[in-house]
Symmetry: C2
Subunit: 237 residues, 2 copies
Amino acid sequence: MKAFLAAIGSNGQSCADCLVRPFSICASLDKTEMQEFERLSRHAHFAPCETVFAEEEMAISFYNLIEGVMRLYKLLPDGRRQIVGFALPGDFLGMTASGRNAFSADAINAVAVCRFSKVSFQRFAEDKPHLLRRINEFAIRELSQAREHMVLLGRRSAEEKVATFLVSWRDRLARQNGASATLPLPMSRQDIADYLGLTIETVSRTFTKLERVGVIEIISGGVRLLDPARAEALAAA
Amino acid sequence: MKAFLAAIGSNGQSCADCLVRPFSICASLDKTEMQEFERLSRHAHFAPCETVFAEEEMAISFYNLIEGVMRLYKLLPDGRRQIVGFALPGDFLGMTASGRNAFSADAINAVAVCRFSKVSFQRFAEDKPHLLRRINEFAIRELSQAREHMVLLGRRSAEEKVATFLVSWRDRLARQNGASATLPLPMSRQDIADYLGLTIETVSRTFTKLERVGVIEIISGGVRLLDPARAEALAAA
DNA sequence: CGCCGCGTTTGATCTGCGTCAATCGTCCTG
DNA sequence: CAGGACGATTGACGCAGATCAAACGCGGCG
C-alpha cells in the first residue's frame, strides 16, 4: 500500500522525466521554457508530520508537490482545526492574495516538492499568458472543489460526509493511478474528522457502520471499496 | 436603507463613470483598452429573486455585478441548499473549470450587471497579462474567502457563525461605502441560514439572543451593530 | 517475549441544534 | 379597515453527533 502511493510522483532529477508533469502547471510549458524553468526550482523533502509552510507566515515560495500527500489546514485561536484540503502530486501551492499564507501545510507521509522563489517565478511567468492561464485554471478548479466542500460541511450528514469523502478520494487517486477498489488512506482518522467537520469518534463509528453494511472493508492503511455503487448513492443523496 | 445599498454601484451608461470600476477587474485596464472592452459588454437588469444563471447550464457569459446583491448557491438533489457566497458590486462571475456553472446565482434585490460573451472576452484578454493577473487575483481572493468559510461551516458554533457573518458582512460593505454601524441585510433569514449551515429557526434565535445581550439591535431590513467589539470577540474565539 | 505508547474503536451519556408547530407582525389588497 | 399571505419569531421536544471514558490492537523496543 505504501509502495502504491509512492508510485505516484517522481524522484527523477530532471523535469524531463518528471512523472507528475502532465498533472502540474508545468504541462503548459514547452521544452525550452521547461529548461529555463528547471533552473529556478529546488527540490526539497519533508518527513511525515513536518510542516512545509505555516499560515500567516510570509509566502515567499511556490511549490509543486511531486510526491506524497499533504494536509492543508487552518486553526482557530482555541486550537480547533479545519483541514481545507489534501494535496496530491501535481498540485500547485503557495498562491496568496495577501502575501501571507492563507493556511498551513504539512506532510502526511514522505513528501517531495519543487520549490520556486516567488520573485523569480513571477518574472518567468510575466510574459507567458499560457502559463498564467494554466495557473488560473488550477485556481478555478480549486475554487470549485472548495464550494463542493462547503456543501458537504454545511448540509450533509456524517454518513454522507464519509461516503462522499471516500468516493471523491478514490476519484482523485484514479486520475493519476487508474481506478482501483483499494483506497490507501495515508491520513489519520483525526485528519479525516477535521476535513469533514466531525469528531474522530464519529468518523470511526461511521467507518465501522459502512463496513457492517458491506460498503467497505477496513484494511491496514486504508479501505477496500466493496460496493462502490452503494457508496456513490450514499454520497449523492 | 434600500437607498443606502442602491448607492453602491452605478447606472451610468458608460464605463467612464462606472462607480464600481475601481473594485472590479476593469481597474486593470487603461483608457483605450476600456473603450474597446466597453463595446463587448451589454447591461442587463434582474428583478428580486430572478435567476441570473443556473448550476450545470453552459456558462457562455462572464458578469460584472454593478448594482445589487446576489446569492450564489448549490443544491443537493433532495433540495437542501448551501449558499456559497453573496456577490456585491464589483464582483466578477462566470469563471468555470468545466464550461458549466459550478453554482446558481440569483438576484436578492434589484440587480444590474455587465455581461460579456466568453468567446469575445477571452479573445480580448488573450494578450493582456495584466488583466489575466487581475482575474487571477480575484480567483485567489475568493479561494481564501472560501477556505475561511469552510472553517466556519465545519468548526464554529451557531453563535460564532452568526457573529462572524455580521462582522465580515460589515467589513465587506465598509470597503465600498465606508464604515457604518447600521448593516443592511437584503437577504432573508433563510438565505443567512443556508449560508451558515444552520436552520432559519436557529438563525432567528441567535439574532434574538445577540439583541438581548446588547450586541445588536434588530431593525427593519437589517441590524445595528451596537457593540462591534463584542461581536468581533464572539466571531474570533 | 512482554511491555509500552499511540492511534483506533466502542460504549454511555449529554447537548446544541434540528424538527415540528403555533403565533406574531408587517405589508398588501379588496 | 378587515382579511390573507408571508417572513420572522418563539416554544416544546427529539435526535445526530459531541463528549467523556474505557478498552483494543498493533508496532517498536528493551
